[in-house]
Amino acid sequence: MKNNKLLFLGLLSLTFFACNDGGKVDPKDTESMYQASPEEVEKLIEDFIMVEEGGTITIPAGFYDINSQLILDGINNVKIIGAGMDETILSFKRLTTGGEGMKIVGDNVLLQDFSVYDAPGDGVKAQHCDGITFRRVNATWTNGDKSKNGTYAIYPVQCKNVVVDECIASHSRDAGIYIGQSENIIVKNSEAFGNVAGIEIENCDNAEVFNNNAHDNAGGVLVFNLPGLMKADARGTKIYDNEIVNNNHENFASTLAGNNGNAVTQIPPGSGVIILAAKGVEVYNNRIKGNKTVAVTVASYQITQFPFDTSNGWSPYSIDIYVHDNEYERPAALPDMSKELGQLVSMKNAHGPMKTQDIVYDGILNPDRGTDITTNPMNICFKEPQMEDLHFNYFELTEKISDIKAFKDYSPFVCEQTIETNVSHLMQR
């Protein structure tokens, strides 16, 4: 009987989070907008095909119901400009083939002032671009039940010199703003909400993420390094001056209740910042508040329990991490129990069962660097004001769950280091 009540409470809280996506849930009322004619839609597809180097594609205000992809194919110095995020809406709801709504290939391309709705797969994908700027681009899915929501909303991959500025990304099944396998990156002044992951930097070099608001996702900001990719050895990310709050959304990345092979399916709802197998990451001056499971997690890839291949030089460990001067606030909510990582934190932390944690370090060591965690061989530094008031943990993980231990002692990890990034050349873009 008691169990039933608990279950009922759990269901209630799920419903609450599902409905409360953080304000901007309702998509714009697009029916009362000007509806672009089939000729205007065809003209737009044609503009993407016919644009010449240095050209501008202007997309007037209106709702565009597009059943083909918009593809820029290797044309440089192109500007694609709408009339505003609320004024120019490109809907790909009727697309029946194609991996994304908009695909951009070309150097020095600017995407500005439009919205992309309901693309199957990804919203806007940019690949092999040197110089790609997303400014005031909103990418989202308007399906209530999320069963058809796409993977990434804003998705530059294998690019150099990427700027995401004043964008909005919401309701994606994976990451809202996802920068993959790229170099030299700024993500700023943007909002990501209602996604599984708000902002994710994956296998990237030299990235800065600042002045963003990542709220009401399952995980707020992620820095991941995944195995098996051509860009194996990535390094250098700074995350600063961001609001990373209330990331307690259910994790809807998998079609079923369990996980699948996408690492993102393992994210426990209630995660602020997660650093996974990353090298050279600095997290500072952020307000990491209201995340019910863990504000900052530093983990190695082994925690996923997925097999991996290191033959291309990739390493599963998080190394050279510096977390300092952030604001924390634990919410009055129970930590996640829906994911294994949530259960680990909820049940095995050093501060008592079912308590929200501020910092969790999985304590997984590369034996080549050392086997005594008190010597901090992976160079993981935490230097927060009032460290003593935070719920800090490092783990000693074992095969047998009952043998897993957690420790409150942060003293081995109080240190400083310099993380190198340099994106000054992108500031004027």
Binding site: E42, I45, E46, F48, I49, M50, N67, S68, Q69, I71, L72, D73, G74, L95, T96, T97, G98, G99, K103, V105, A119, P120, G121, D122, Q127, H128, K148, N149, G150, T151, Y152, Y155, V157, Q158, R173, D174, Y178, G180, Q181, L226, P227, G228, L229, M230, A253, S254, T255, L256, G258, N259, N260, G261, N262, A263, F306, P307, F308, D309, S311
Partner: protein, 359 residues
């Protein structure tokens, strides 16, 4: 007065009719030739403008030096039948490159012509589209042509089209689909090596087999190309690889499945293709089991992973993401992500059997 007017209009109508008929019949009389193509003017508005076919367009009878070719393993496109032709300008020739894929380096003024058609109820066929790949000034470009309902010609259509089709496939099953002709830039979604437009099918290792050229001529395609002057460095068939047809059931299952993946997936899933972001590499020659997907977790599969953990779960086809995505026709889930709205049941069965047979 009134009768006069009527007479005049009838006369002018008849005149107009005669004029129209004369105009209509003029094109077959002056047979065009690809030799007259002005490559700077491409794309021509009509397929017939190029002169690749003689007589009735719908019969697709090849003009002189327009040569039929066929890769050993082919891409599935919603059970469409395909006929492919190659044409090169007089005096120009291609060479087989000394690389893994044995690609063919085509000269300028090469054209690859691919017709997509379905058998219709009365024993004929309905041609849906013709895609031209044209090499001009060192670069390939794609030009999609959509066939008219009356099957007399095809019109250049850069924005693509959707057309409802009912047909019976070669296995005797009836289907009704909304066929999708890609827009011009979607062509590059597959024809893409390092963002350079590339043909996919005509590689030496795909053409190194005997094709029936009609009139009793059964000949190795590379040999035929060399004889026609379309190749300049072919030596002997045994000096080149030969990828088998995945439809040949007497071929070893492993080779068949790998031939299928090569033709249907590897154009993207190779280190220079758009699918390289996934780390999954499916070319015929790949031997690294992790790159091939064995126990490999996905990277950006999203919904496409379904409930599964690995691209290929050896011996468990039903738990493999590759099979899950082949067995879908939902955009965002299905693979390939473009070029089909249907599931390739035979391809699915083949790849499933291959995975299930893994130890």
């Amino acid at each position: 007065m009134l009768t006069n007017r009527i007479k005049i209009s009838i006369a002018s109508l008849v005149g107009l009719l005669i004029f129209l008929i004369a105009c209509n019949s003029s094109s077959p009389l002056v047979q065009k030739s690809p030799n007259d193509i002005d490559f700077a003017q491409i794309p021509y508005p009509l397929l017939s403008d190029y002169g690749f076919f003689i007589g009735e367009m719908k019969d697709l009878v090849a003009n002189e030096r327009v040569l039929l070719y066929e890769p050993s393993s082919t891409l599935f496109t919603d059970y469409a039948e395909k006929s492919r032709f190659v044409w090169m300008a007089e005096g120009a020739s291609a060479s087989i490159m000394d690389n893994t894929w044995q690609e063919i380096d085509f000269p300028d003024k090469s054209v690859l012509i691919k017709n997509f058609y379905y058998p219709d109820a009365d024993g004929g066929s309905r041609i849906v589209e013709t895609r031209l790949l044209v090499k001009h000034e060192g670069k390939w470009n794609a030009y999609p042509y959509l066939w008219n309902e009356d099957q007399k010609d095809a019109v250049y259509k850069m924005t693509g089209a959707m057309l409802p089709l009912a047909f019976t496939d070669s296995y005797g099953r009836h289907h009704e689909i909304d066929y999708l002709q890609p827009n011009k830039n979607q062509c590059k979604s597959c024809h893409n090596q390092n963002e350079e437009f590339k043909p996919i099918g005509p590689k030496a290792r795909n053409l190194n087999w005997d094709l029936d050229y009609g009139n009793g001529e059964l000949k190795n395609q590379l040999q035929k190309w060399q004889e026609m002057g379309y190749l300049n460095n072919f030596t002997a068939a045994e000096n080149y690889q030969s990828i088998p047809s995945y439809k040949h059931e007497d071929v070893d299952l492993n080779f068949r499945a790998r031939a299928y993946l090569d033709a249907n997936c590897a154009y993207c899933h190779n280190p220079l293709g758009p699918g390289s972001t996934s780390g999954l590499m499916l070319s015929y020659e790949v031997s690294d089991s992790s790159q091939l997907g064995y126990f490999k977790t996905p990277v950006a599969a999203g919904l496409g992973a379904g409930p599964h953990t690995f691209d290929i779960y050896p011996s468990k086809a039903d738990s493999s993401i590759i099979v899950y995505r082949m067995n879908s026709s939902e955009a965002g889930v299905m693979m390939p992500e473009l070029g089909r709205v249907m599931i390739d049941q035979e391809g699915l069965d083949l790849v499933s059997a291959w995975i299930n047979a893994m130890k």
